[in-house]
């Protein structure tokens, strides 16, 4: 038993490394074949889904309100870049900081209840912040913040060029992906997994689980905010769609399709859903029906997600 576990460990890290290398090569080569904006959309959502997965996959907390961090960060970044005229790196930083702040408040409230209540609390608080976004003048209501300037990164790189922007988004994504990998494989990450498996036991071992949960929540919200800020610059737009509850549902769906608690699942799921939605743009409202069908299908039949099933077939961890 012990030996099998060690074997599995050495082979998994190789499988993870190979998959990561393949993903990196694919992402570097992709802009030659695919329109960069579509790819950037995929990367932003992939980061968003990875942030969400950090919480559900490794702490077992289902947040139904992650649109709050994604959307508000997107608003703040867009406002900072357009109205305050900040350079892109500072605008992104502003958006991300606001997401971290909201993450601290929402997290502190939501971890006071367990399980299913956690989902309902995050959903309700996100809805509250949605109404604030509708009413606040700086968000421009239904119009959103349009024509956000991408600016020059560090005063040098002109981001109006799609390829330059793509490189920046790719670097942000890869850096965060590696950081998240580091977090879930650190001692801190091991405690998170222990909480997921058996919280009372983790408490009895002397871990202050609330602190771990809160920190995990803040980290997740911060990464989600970074994704939202980047998205605002890519599309030069921040709108109500980004803060509304269907966005929270979408990130859940992406992670579920790819595989909850897998390393590469959220990335695969995000690109799968972005591709699908690109094909489905002509069918309007039917997108919700399609999303609903995928939800039902995944929960009933494909509970491990694409990557989860693949990892099972290859008897490794991805």
């Amino acid at each position: 038993m012990q030996r099998a576990a060690t074997l599995a460990r050495t082979s998994t890290s190789r499988a993870e490394f190979v998959t990561f290398a393949l993903m990196l090569v694919a992402l570097v080569v992709a802009p030659i074949f695919v329109y960069p904006v579509v790819l950037m959309k995929g990367l932003c959502f992939a980061l968003f889904a990875c942030a969400f997965n950090l919480l559900i996959g490794y702490v077992g907390l289902l947040s139904f309100g992650h649109a709050l961090f994604f959307g508000w960060a997107s608003y703040v970044c867009a406002h900072a870049a357009k109205v305050w005229g900040l350079p892109p790196e500072l605008a992104i930083l502003c958006g991300t900081a606001v997401a971290a702040l909201f993450g601290t408040i929402v997290g502190a409230l939501a971890i006071r209840r367990q399980g299913i209540y956690f989902a309902m609390i995050t959903l309700a608080l996100a809805q509250m912040m949605y109404f604030f976004a509708v009413q606040a003048p700086f968000t421009h209501g239904e119009d959103g913040i349009q024509a956000v300037p991408r600016g020059k990164l560090l005063g040098l790189v002109d981001l109006a060029n799609n390829f330059n922007m793509y490189v920046v988004v790719l670097i942000i994504f890869v850096a965060c992906f590696l950081l998240i990998y580091r977090i879930i494989n650190s001692p801190f990450g091991e405690v998170l997994k222990a909480i997921r498996e058996n919280e009372p036991r983790a408490i009895s071992l002397g871990y202050k689980t609330d602190r771990y949960k809160l920190l995990a929540f803040i980290l997740s919200a911060t990464f989600a905010g970074l994704a939202g800020s980047t998205k605002a610059l890519v599309f030069q737009l921040a709108s109500l769609t980004d803060v509304d509850w269907p966005m929270s549902g979408e990130v859940i769906l992406m992670t579920l399709v790819g595989g909850l608690g897998t390393l590469f699942g959220p990335v695969a799921g995000a690109f799968f859903m972005v591709t699908l939605e690109n094909f489905l743009t002509t069918i309007g409202q039917w997108v919700f029906v399609v999303q609903g069908v995928i939800f039902v299908f995944c929960v009933l039949i494909l509970r491990r997600g694409i990557v989860g099933e693949l990892a099972r077939a290859l008897r490794t961890r991805l």
Partner: protein
């Protein structure tokens, strides 16, 4: 007519009445959610869609010449039967899994149902008129009370208390409570628990549909009428805690009234007041007003 705190009594009591009406919908919906959660261990995200379905069935019935009173009986029945089918087709496979899968599956079902209705009926509302028996109203001196609105408050209070009575004081209710506590033991006594679970879901869903029928003449019948409501109802459930039936009823009506008062004195916050109350309750009593600590 007179003024209270500088607000005309008609406006104040009018908003209070709307608050009570919203409160009765909150109570009916959170009651259904609590009953379903007790038996199925599933938070029914489809609840809002089923409320909307209730209103739409009433609308279809009217087009075929069957009026409000027919709808009040037939619509919950029809939606309840759909609920039974949903439980048999989808939900029964999830009972042994983590709670969150139930939430995700019912969320998916809600997306499907609401998406379809939005495709067929657009986003704008369809009108549904107040039944002729309940048109008009009473002048109470301090306010004008429309008959239909009085009926909604009284009837939903009656349904809520009826449900409470059945669950707390009858033999059927005792089976239900016992099966919530320990389904295996109740099964060992020869009671068909799986069928009880199915019927419980059907009943909870029928309550949502009933609320939908009652809402149809007040708000327009529209595909998205349920999706915003369900989030508020979730907040109500968090505030009340799902442990107690009476708690759900009291919290539902109470929050409706608070929301109504906010509309009078601080209209900007009327959308968000329930969420703010939820945050405060979480700080003071994390288990909810009527909940037991887990």
């Amino acid at each position: 007519m007179f003024e209270i705190f500088g607000v005309p009594s008609q406006a104040l009591f009018g908003q209070l009445l709307i608050g009570l009406i919203n409160g009765s919908f909150y109570a009916l919906l959170s009651l259904g959610l609590a009953v379903i959660f007790g038996m199925l261990n599933i938070i029914n995200f489809t609840h809002g869609a089923q409320y909307m379905l209730g209103a739409f069935v009433a609308f279809f019935l009217l087009q075929h010449g069957l009026g409000y009173w027919w709808a009040l009986v037939l619509s919950p029945l029809a939606v309840g039967i759909i609920g039974v089918l949903i439980e048999r087709l989808f939900l029964q496979w999830l009972y042994k899994l983590d709670h969150l899968y139930g939430l995700l599956l019912t969320f998916g079902l809600a997306l499907i149902i609401e998406g379809m209705f939005r495709n067929f009926f657009g986003s704008s509302g369809l009108p549904y008129s107040v039944p002729s028996e309940l048109q008009g109203g009473q002048n109470l001196g301090f306010m004008f009370l429309p008959n239909y609105r009085a009926w909604v408050v009284v009837f939903s209070l009656f349904v809520c208390l009826g449900t409470w009575f059945v669950i707390e004081w009858t033999k059927l209710g005792s089976y239900l409570r016992a099966a919530t506590e320990n389904p295996m033991l109740v099964r060992a006594f020869g009671i068909n628990v799986p069928r009880m679970i199915t019927l419980t879901y059907g009943f909870g869903v029928a309550l949502a549909a009933l609320a939908g029928v009652m809402a149809a003449p007040i708000y327009n019948v529209s595909p998205q009428m349920g999706s915003n409501l369900i989030i508020v109802v979730f907040a109500v459930v968090v505030i009340g805690g799902m442990g107690s039936i009476m708690g759900a009823i009291v919290t539902g009506f109470g929050l409706g009234v608070i929301e109504g008062l906010t509309k009078v004195f601080f209209p900007e916050a009327s959308n968000t007041v329930i969420f703010i109350v939820m945050a405060i309750v979480l700080l003071i009593r994390p288990a909810g007003l009527f909940g037991r600590a887990a």
